[in-house]
Amino acid sequence: MSVLAPGSLDTDGFWGMISEGRTAIRRISAFDPSQFRSQVAGEIDFDPAAMGLSHREARRLDRASMLAVVCARRAVEQAGLDHSLDPARLGVSVGNAVGSATSIEQEYVVLSDGGAEWFVDQTYQSPHLFDYFTPGSIAREVAQTVGAEGPVGVVSAGCTSGIDSLGHAATLIAEGSADVMLAGATDAPVTPIAVACFDAIRATTPNNDDPAGAARPFDRRRNGFAIAEGAAMLVLEDLEHARERGIPVLGEIAGYGTTCNAYHMTGLTAEGDEMTRAIDQALAEARVSAESIDYVNAHGSGTRQNDLHETSAIKRSLGQYAYQVPISSIKSMVGHSLGAIGSIEVAACLLALQHSLIPPTANLKEPDPKCDLDYVPLAAREAALRTVLTIGSGFGGFQSAMVLRKVDL
């Protein structure tokens, strides 16, 4: 697996950061954010050449594609995939919420001359505009880079896409449509229109004077998430297939569940029944009881609404055990990279299993009395971990959950 998240440039850097409770949220540098209500974000100091991308890739690809391609190449290398694998049995699944939003807006600004013309001027059009227009191009880039001929596509279920993409890939392997899936998610939404749209509904934090402390999941002072960019790609394969190849196995996707709240495009039900159902489905598919969950990686976006909703859903799924299980939100540190974060959080869960260490919820200094579970505030905690749960929730009403498990070899 490979992660690119704010504050680091590789998987080791990512784990170092979140295991030490450091936050990467800062004042936006991608553009001048002065006019916006929320001026902070999680950004990656991404140099395409240093990341091994060619000049042409750097010109052609939107940032979301670049992040995905870099992660894909690194993940494939780590997994030791080589040409002995039949390309027809190799597929790609990329979760993504907002496509090539950054490049779309940059192109729009030029073609419309800063919004002045409704009838945009075709003579300024980039030859790559069609790729930005159609987000399938992100999966295409990843598939071409590894020569995949199996099932390839983008899973775009808003902010649960990162979990859903992996759930989809695991299903394709289970049903026999592929032996190996290169799966994960990417999003690069730190662009004015995306910042503006979350401003409009006050979903993002206005803590501009304290970027590092801006995202405060489960804290009584929380006031929204920090928008972020990021990507994670993982190599999934049937357990027997991996054992035959004799390579280290980082963990197992043991169960997955997803529902729609069918309630509101941005609002959440008070009780969180739909999230409860998603968690219950994931536990059932993994054939584990609530009490066997050693850690919950929360959606923990840090909006007023989410953290209450999620706390309620965890209680309804795990019962009294909810008060014992450690829970944390890494969005306090790396922000909310929309469709990407679900895969980044799965990677964080696998790293937690590997290191027997639970990353903390940073910035949780004044607990909200209504959020009354153990959110592992401020500092990481050592723990024997065997089975962990990750949860996601997103616009459109999507609720997803996944159970990850350590594998004995």
Partner: protein, 400 residues
């Protein structure tokens, strides 16, 4: 439940050739075209031909509060979903909401809505941006809005693979049913992005026809093929578990599906397309000789048409199977195309008729293309193909 399939019990289409299912099917069988010169642009753009839905008035179908918060593509999707549900006769009050899901494909999002909001942001500042922008344009919007409107809480999803995505959505909906994740799915694809900003983005594919005469614009498999015409529209279908459908109800069964990818920038590399055809047929427990008609992807460019014809000739023999390309009358609908082709194929199976490729007089490729007039012939099994820009390939098999 049959091990391979699920049933289609409700369908609806909104296409350049018809605002209703009956209108669409009638005009499709008569070989009528919905392609025209797009009149909003006063000829200022390189390309001019589009498959446009002329008379869709959202206010006739949807409440005002939904119209305010949605792009045209979502309005089309909501209306098609409403009508497909009615067509199916499913009584949602009698269903567990968690047992019913929505799976859609949408390749370009709510583009016009986003265009308007970007213009507001860049000319008037952030306070003028709509509170609905955060969800009106993103690719998941149609699944979200349909699920809310009908209280469908099952495993919703959105799959994007450009023009192949419509088949992938139906294939995934069937997967959900077969795996017991739910027993009913609203599934399909819809596309609409013909504001100026969307239009220029379409043009950037480099494969739009330069023709300005509607009869010359989209001529798949023809020696005169010169590119494609983009269209708007799509279809929604209701899928149910076979065992929940009493005999005689519904339009047919989805019995096989497979998807793959061509990583080479070479349409003559036919292995991925042949393989998904073989895999979809194998899943359906059918052989090539069982197939009665193929609904082709019909790209409209010489190299891509030749590649598809070669794959068909390799699989079914030269001129070995009737090939349908009715989408030449609607244009290429991106994510909407696969769903419309499935509806078209189901109606073809029902009426034992293969609709013609509109505007196409003949082909010089080794396939039996049905052109000029519809062909009456007994039909039991149809294969539907789709390819998405960049290499996506999908195949789906339907049985009467």
């Amino acid at each position: 439940m049959s091990p391979t399939g699920c049933a289609v019990t409700g369908i609806d289409v909104i296409a350049p050739t018809g605002l209703t299912l009956d209108e669409y099917w009638g005009r499709t069988c008569r070989g009528e075209s919905g392609i025209r010169v797009i009149d909003d642009f006063d000829g200022r753009y390189h390309n001019a031909l589009a498959g446009v839905i002329p008379d869709f008035v959202a206010q006739k179908h949807l409440p005002g509060r939904l119209i305010t918060q949605t792009d045209r593509v979502t309005q089309l999707a909501l209306v098609a979903a409403d009508r497909a549900l009615i067509d199916s006769g499913v009584d949602l009050d009698q269903r567990d909401p968690y047992d019913c899901a929505v799976v859609t494909s949408n390749a370009t999002g709510g583009f016009e809505f986003s265009h308007r909001e970007m213009q507001r942001l860049w000319t008037q500042g952030r306070e003028s941006v709509s509170v609905y922008q955060c969800f009106a344009w993103f690719y998941a919007v149609n699944t979200g809005q349909i699920s809310i409107r009908h209280r469908l809480r099952g495993p919703g999803s959105v799959l994007v693979a450009e023009q192949a995505g419509g088949l992938d959505a139906l294939g995934h909906a069937r997967r959900n049913i077969r795996r017991g994740r739910c027993s009913m799915v609203v599934a399909g694809g819809m596309e609409s992005s013909f504001d100026p900003w969307g239009w220029v983005s379409h043009q950037a594919s480099g494969n739009l026809t330069p023709a300005r005469d509607p009869v010359e614009g989209y001529l798949p498999f023809s020696p005169a093929a010169n590119g494609y015409v983009p269209g708007e529209g799509g279809a929604m279908l209701i899928l149910e578990a076979d065992d929940a459908v009493e005999p005689g109800r519904g339009y047919g069964h989805i019995v096989g599906y497979a998807s793959g990818f061509n990583p080479r920038n070479d349409p003559a590399y036919t292995r991925p397309l042949r393989r998904v055809i073989e895999a979809a047929l194998a899943e359906a427990e059918l052989s090539a000789t069982d197939v009665d008609v193929v609904f082709a992807d019909a790209a409209g460019t010489r190299a891509d048409d030749a590649g598809e014809a070669l794959a068909l000739a390799e699989t079914f023999g030269p001129y070995g199977i009737p090939v349908a390309a009715p989408k030449s009358g609607t244009g290429r609908l991106m994510a909407g195309a696969g769903a419309v082709d499935i509806v078209c194929a189901l109606l073809a199976l029902r009426d034992n008729v293969i609709p013609p490729a509109v505007h196409v007089q003949s082909t010089d490729l080794p396939i039996d293309l049905v052109c000029e007039t519809a062909r009456k012939t007994p039909l039991n099994t149809a294969l539907v193909l789709a390819r998405g820009a960049g290499g996506f390939v999908s195949a789906l098999v339907l049985r009467k």
